[in-house]
């Protein structure tokens, strides 16, 4: 469905991702790696916020390497960046409603679903997104992406800076959303242990290249630790 061939990307004259090839089926694919391994760059490139330097991205049989970001979101790819993932001066309700610009189902239905998933957001409908706490902000960011009714969800470190309690809630929600909607998820995480519990397959990045790619259940903690240099 989603296929990446020989991808290269970076900022300015710094090449960060090189020669990366993988496919995403109907699963949760976790992208793991230490800080600075290139996870954020990879996801931003997949969402076309950063242009593709080399290689190709294919989605539903079509090459989307040159399509602009808004085109991709119309085709069912939703992206939650690590930073700046909400509209800070807009209310929670407006943030969610901006998520509903793409897709065909009525906005109200989707809104009810997201509020069911994150009851805290319903309580804070009228609040400015910039004044939410870190955890609520992440929930809103994921909620906004789910409003897009995506078939592929790109999540960039949704647990960064969150307290363990919030991480649990968030990961639980992600699994629920995945089951009820049958969507593919690419999840970039530092939080390896937790991620292993929910992921189907794991891609470990090291300095922008693929370190390993295999099923989560086959992966030992020891090999992971090695990839993290701990």
């Amino acid at each position: 469905m989603f296929d990446v061939q020989n991808l290269g990307s970076g900022y300015g004259d710094v090449q960060i991702i090189s020669e990366l090839s993988f496919g995403v089926g109907n699963e949760i694919l976790a992208v793991l790696g230490a800080n600075g391994a290139g996870k954020t760059t990879l996801l931003a490139t997949l969402a076309k916020v950063i242009p593709v330097r080399s290689g190709a991205i294919t989605w539903q049989g079509q090459d989307v390497s040159a399509s602009p970001a808004y085109e991709l979101s119309k085709r069912g790819i939703a992206y939650v960046p690590q930073e700046g993932n909400v509209f800070p001066n807009l209310s929670v309700a407006e943030n969610l409603s901006l998520g509903a610009l793409v897709g065909t189902r009525p906005k109200e239905d989707r809104l009810t679903e997201v509020y069911d998933l994150f009851p805290r957001l319903a309580e804070r409908k009228e609040q400015r997104a910039g004044s939410l706490s870190g955890g609520e902000g992440q929930m809103l960011a994921v909620g906004r992406a789910l409003m897009q009714d995506p078939q592929l969800l790109l999540l960039d470190e949704p647990s960064a800076g969150l307290s363990p309690l919030y991480v649990d809630i968030l990961f639980q929600t992600i699994t629920e959303a995945r089951k009820s909607r049958e969507i593919s998820i690419v999840l970039a995480e530092q939080n390896a242990k937790k991620t292993l519990e929910i992921a189907d397959r794991v891609l470990v990045l090291s300095l922008g290249r693929m370190h390993l790619l295999e099923a989560a259940k086959d992966l030992s903690m020891k090999r992971l630790m090695k990839a993290y240099h701990i």
């Binding site: 602009p68 808004y70 700046g84 800070p88 807009l90 407006e94």
Partner: protein, 284 residues
């Protein structure tokens, strides 16, 4: 007491073009993040389009309002497409974009003078009735302007704060990357915003022109106060610009009542510098 009422009344009546101009200006600043001095020429062009329809084609003043405003909107979109968008794409920074906009305003203004000359033009006004209200006189035209201005202001406010389009605009202004990821085509939204803002400038010019006279410098004379009002009103908020424009109108009227009108401008300008200084490094 009557002094205060007079000031408010005169202020609101005189401020109506200013309110329109400030709202449109704010819209562009809000979206693109730079002060567009070329916006002032929209005011001039609006008045000249109206005078063309009104005087050359013999259209009645009221009928000429909407087409003249739309023509100004089209000019505004052209400046965006052929001047500002290429510049932004080439990485021209905000401070230089302002200088660019001053250059554009020279081109538009003196281009206009080269085409139509620098003489004052008087719009063919409809018959005027005088009203007295709370001891102060006003013309029917001023009332109509006021009503139109508030209708426009209300609609703009509604558009920005209560419609899907407004949401897109605010989203794009707030977080451009995320807006694109949410499926907003920045190009289309920008064109619409520049059209609306240009139309607002055009309307402002039409009424400024019918209140006084039409000449090529009218926009330049109004742009500085428009910029001031918008910045004081809290850049990036249509609400703020509206309130600030009314307040500036009232303040100008109040100062004018006790002293010469030029002192009113000096006081406003000084207040403007002072407010910028108090705000410190951040703009909005």
């Amino acid at each position: 007491m009557s002094f205060i009422i007079d000031a408010i009344f005169i202020g609101v009546l005189q401020a109506s073009p200013l309110i329109l101009a400030a709202m449109g200006f704010t819209l562009i600043y809000y979206l693109n993040g730079f002060i567009n001095f070329g916006y002032g020429e929209g005011i001039t062009y609006g008045a000249y389009f109206a005078s063309f329809l009104n005087l050359s084609l013999g259209m009645s003043f009221y009928l000429s309002i909407v087409p003249a405003a739309m023509m100004t909107g089209a000019v505004s979109v052209l400046t965006y497409l052929y001047v500002f968008r290429p510049a932004i794409r080439r990485g021209v920074k905000p401070a230089e974009l302002i200088i660019l906009s001053v250059g554009l305003s020279f081109v538009l203004r003196y281009g206009l003078i080269l085409m139509v000359g620098a003489e004052n033009v008087f719009l063919d006004e409809p018959p005027i009735a005088f009203f007295t209200f709370a001891g102060t006189g006003a013309t029917s035209l001023q009332f109509i302007a006021l009503i139109l201005v508030f209708t426009f202001a209300f609609n703009l406010y509604w558009l920005i704060y209560h419609t899907g389009f407004g949401e897109k605009v605010r989203g794009l202004a707030d977080n451009p990357d995320l807006a694109q990821v949410s499926g907003i085509d920045p190009h289309r939204v920008s064109i619409s915003v520049w059209f609306i803002a240009g139309s607002a400038a055009g309307l402002a010019g039409i009424f400024q022109g019918v209140f006084a006279l039409v000449n090529p410098l009218m926009g330049w004379n109004l742009i500085l106060i428009t910029v001031m009002v918008s910045i004081i009103g809290g850049v990036g908020s249509v609400r703020g610009a509206l309130i600030a424009a009314v307040l500036a109108g009232i303040l100008t009227a109040a100062i004018t009542l006790v002293t010469k009108p030029l002192y009113a401008e000096v006081a406003l300008l000084s207040a403007f510098i002072f407010i910028l200084w108090r705000r410190g490094p951040r703009m909005a």
